[in-house]
């Protein structure tokens, strides 16, 4: 276990380093990208631009700029170019909103996908299976921005069943929190429900052919018990791997479209704004933030794997 933690920590560090260099590098090579001018404003004189360049060190060589930026990030002093907000505290203050969005959405899609995938597999070839799989395949074919916009239009604007975007924190009013987030949750979840239930169904159908499932049946276990205890449990693992990665990237801000659409002040919304402005610090921190979660959840999923499947050993 200790070795596992050490190795994962090292690979996390390596990934963070690589991510930061790549992102930083991308913006370094863009011609006509000039943060100094952007900060100085539209009617800045060359002198003002020079002051800004000096203040932010934009004249320094790439590696120095990179090192400075990293230092600022890890000391929590980095500010974005656009608003000069502290990026780290901005991520901190926005993270609860992202958690509020992502965790329930993830639970919804995971649970729904398990139920639907199971029903579909158990009724394979019958009407329920076909209907569910059609829904699932439609689900994975609709982009979230279209789905979210149409949901918002119909349910929030037209029928006014749901509130007109926004976010209420869980601590201030749990009921309102849920009320405001229902549409965003489902916008995110619907796509993944489709995808996950399809994968799960196919895993289940694969698993049903396994010898040990036949054994379980031969033992005289009820169909339900065979399914729950033997088939489902072993079929969940590939789903979990996907889940770890998807969940991690969502926490890192991949829900940017949903957050922007529904005005949820999460990290994704911040990243979306930053990307539009080519505002490097938030993009950089966002990328590293995501990479961190990817590694973290990769490790967590491996631990879960090891718990679920005694054959799996935790290695680096």
């Amino acid at each position: 276990m200790g070795r596992f933690i050490v190795r994962r920590t090292l690979s996390a560090a390596a990934l963070l380093f690589a991510t930061s260099v790549v992102v930083f590098g991308i913006f370094e090579v863009i011609p006509s990208y000039n943060p100094g001018r952007a900060i100085a404003g539209r009617n800045a004189t060359p002198q003002t631009v020079a002051i800004v360049n000096k203040k932010f060190g934009f004249n320094q060589p790439f590696y120095r700029q990179y090192l400075n930026t990293m230092k600022l990030i890890f000391t929590g002093q980095i500010v974005d170019y656009q608003d000069q907000l502290n990026v780290v505290s901005e991520f901190k203050s926005r993270f609860p909103a992202t958690l509020s969005l992502v965790i329930p959405a993830a639970l919804i899609w995971l649970i729904a996908a398990i139920i639907l995938g199971s029903v579909s597999a158990l009724r394979a070839g019958r009407f329920a299976d076909k209907a569910l799989m059609v829904m699932a395949i439609v689900g994975v074919s609709i982009p979230v921005f279209l789905l979210g916009a149409v949901l918002l239009y119909l349910l929030a604007y037209k029928l006014t069943i749901f509130p007109n975007t926004g976010y209420v924190s869980l601590t201030s009013n749990p009921a309102q929190w849920a009320y405001y987030l229902i549409l965003p949750w489902f916008s995110i979840a619907l796509l993944s429900i489709g995808f996950y239930s399809r994968v799960l169904r196919s895993n289940l159908l694969d698993m049903v052919n396994e010898d040990f499932v036949r054994t379980a049946k031969a033992k005289g276990l009820s169909q339900q018990r065979v399914f729950r205890r033997h088939v489902l449990r072993n079929s969940l693992m590939p789903i979990l791997t996907m889940f770890g990665l998807d969940f991690a990237t969502l926490l890192g801000g991949a829900a940017l479209v949903t957050e922007t659409l529904f005005n949820i002040p999460g990290v994704g919304q911040y990243e979306a704004t930053a990307i539009g402005n080519l505002d490097v610090p938030p993009i950089l921190v966002g990328a590293m933030f995501t990479a961190f979660f990817v590694v973290l959840f990769g490790a967590l999923i491996d631990v879960v794997y090891a718990l679920l499947d005694p054959r799996v050993r935790l290695t680096g």
Binding site: D211, T215, G220, L221, R229, P310
Partner: protein
Amino acid sequence: MAERLLEVEDLQVSFATEDGVVRAVDGVTFTLDRGEVLAIVGESGSGKSVTSMTLMGLTRGPNARFAGSAKLKGKELLTASEEDLQHIRGAEIAMIFQDPISSLSPVHRIGDQIVEQIRAHDKKVSKGEAFDHAVELMERVGIPHARARARAFPHEFSGGMRQRAMIAMALSLSPSVLIADEPTTALDVTIQAQILAEVKTLKEHSDSGIIFVTHDLGVVADIADRVIVMYAGRVVEQGTLDEIFYDPQHPYTWGLLGSVTRMDRDPPKRLPSIPGLPPSLIRAPRGCHFRPRCPHEFERCAEVPPLEARVAEAPDHLDRCWLEVEDKRTRREIEGRIGLVRDAA
């Protein structure tokens, strides 16, 4: 006379596939009594496993069709409800599978898997009691340190130990019929012998009827009372062990026997084999299924030979070959051994 456990009458199993109907089992008839060991022998695809699994209702499905009858102590299995079958599986008929590593759930402890079976049939047994019983069973099949090992996972067992665990599990509810489906195939030769010994002990100490499914005639020589030889869904020959071993009537059986390495004879110059592959069951050859691979094939083989007694002195020794009994007896000897190939040079 011992109690009759199984009565299988003209059992037919077919599966609808998108390429056509597969007649996996085509007219199998046999009985099994208490304390008896019946061996079903055949190559892959011969229908031997389908036959045994059908008894447990494990081949049921939307595309499966069954005909004939299979009765356990007089109770029809083919039409039994799924619920009835659940009570029969594991308790009345238990099964030992071929590959213990894939047949045991990889994620559950061995002991728990046995406990699960026990408690599936009797909820009143507490977990602790069931576990104690599981340990007892494991000891009985020769697993050392059973109490500790019951907490281990299958991958922590050796192949032989896993198969012993499988057997322990199958025995847990003292079933009247025990089906061993190639229980030794996946194992090392030395382990095979141990497991076979285990089955033999079983035969001696329990009064279950045992169906031993295998492709290897050699392994049943010691334990079987009667033998059924299957090829491409059909029974090609059936009789007592002695009848099959000492007076085999079907060229396919000769082939099987020729493949048996026998310690009491000189080793052959080269390992005999049956050339070719078993046929597709969707468009099986007309007449005798073995025809395309049979060196003794002649015109009449285009007609399906009935399964009937052809050896006058053995009314229960049935086979499906048009050749005359005497003719067969001369044809089957090669280099002093029973074999399939006509010209062994």
